[in-house]
């Protein structure tokens, strides 16, 4: 079995990368994809923890795996809805620029 700590570090890196993408990119679609990346990183971390707990005690319930599944499901749902919304917004605004969506100030 793999050592767990590097995996968690990797997951942290991916998560933060996704976060940077979320906060920095102007393209709406890419922002959604960054969010997906974050969720994937989270799933990876859950899996790593699951592995670690398995290593200590085989009879434990597989909490990590379950949470990983939940995170993946969340990712799937968000993607579906998010892409649809992106599409509508892009068509309405004629632009994929996230800075064109600034009505939320009132």
């Amino acid at each position: 079995m793999l050592p767990v700590t590097p995996v968690i570090v990797l997951s942290a890196c991916l998560f933060v990368t996704g976060l940077i993408g979320l906060l920095t990119r102007r393209n709406l679609l890419l922002v959604v994809l960054s969010l997906q990346l974050m969720l994937g990183a989270g799933c990876l971390a859950f899996a790593a923890f699951d592995q670690a707990w398995l290593m200590t005690d085989v009879t434990r319930p597989r909490t990590g795996a379950v949470f990983g599944l939940i995170a993946t499901l969340a990712a799937a749902g968000q993607l579906g809805l998010g892409l649809a919304v992106v599409f509508v917004l892009a068509r309405a605004r004629r632009s994929l620029d996230i800075e064109a969506l600034d009505e939320l100030k009132w």
Binding site: L2, P3, T5, P6, V7, I8, V9, A12, C13, L14, F15, V16, T17, I20, G21, L22, L23, T24, R25, N27, L28, L29, L30, V31, L35, Q36, L37, G40, G42, L44, F46, A47, F49, D50, Q51, A52, W53, T56, D57, A65, F67, T72, A74, A75, A76, Q78, L79, G80, V85, V86, F87, L89, A90, A92, R94, L96, E99, A100, L101, L104
Partner: protein, 166 residues
Amino acid sequence: MPEVWLYLLGGLTVLSSLALITARRMLTAVWAFGCVSVLLGGILLSLSSPFLAFVELWVGTSCFLAALFFARLLSGIEARGLGPRDPGRVVIKALGLIASLVLAAVFIGVVAQTEPAPRIAAGDVSGRQGWGPQLFTLYVAPLPALGLLLLGTMIGAAFLLRRRSG
């Protein structure tokens, strides 16, 4: 799988994610995302949950394909209206960058501090306390929050748009 493959896969994943966030063209970024998904699936395979790996691979690939489809659909729009740069946004982006890096440092720091293997080797078998609830919180807390934020924002904007044009 020997460790060296893990490190290779991991490195590639990081590179691809960096490509995702820095690519100029939308299509390039989407392909990078696809790479990331596949690589993630591979890494998960090497962990203890093949089922999770399978699901993640599946979802990831679907994401990639859907994004690809939409990117092609919207590529015409992308070409237009990227608007003038707002100096205020630079500040925001810089702040975001810094905050994220600090967050990464915090994550890694906590992980390093609470790593269980040496402790287990030293005879502490209360495995539950390995990474502690803090780390768990680190992962559980932000994800839904951020996701909801983004989603909510977009839905709100869409709603406003509909009100305006409708």
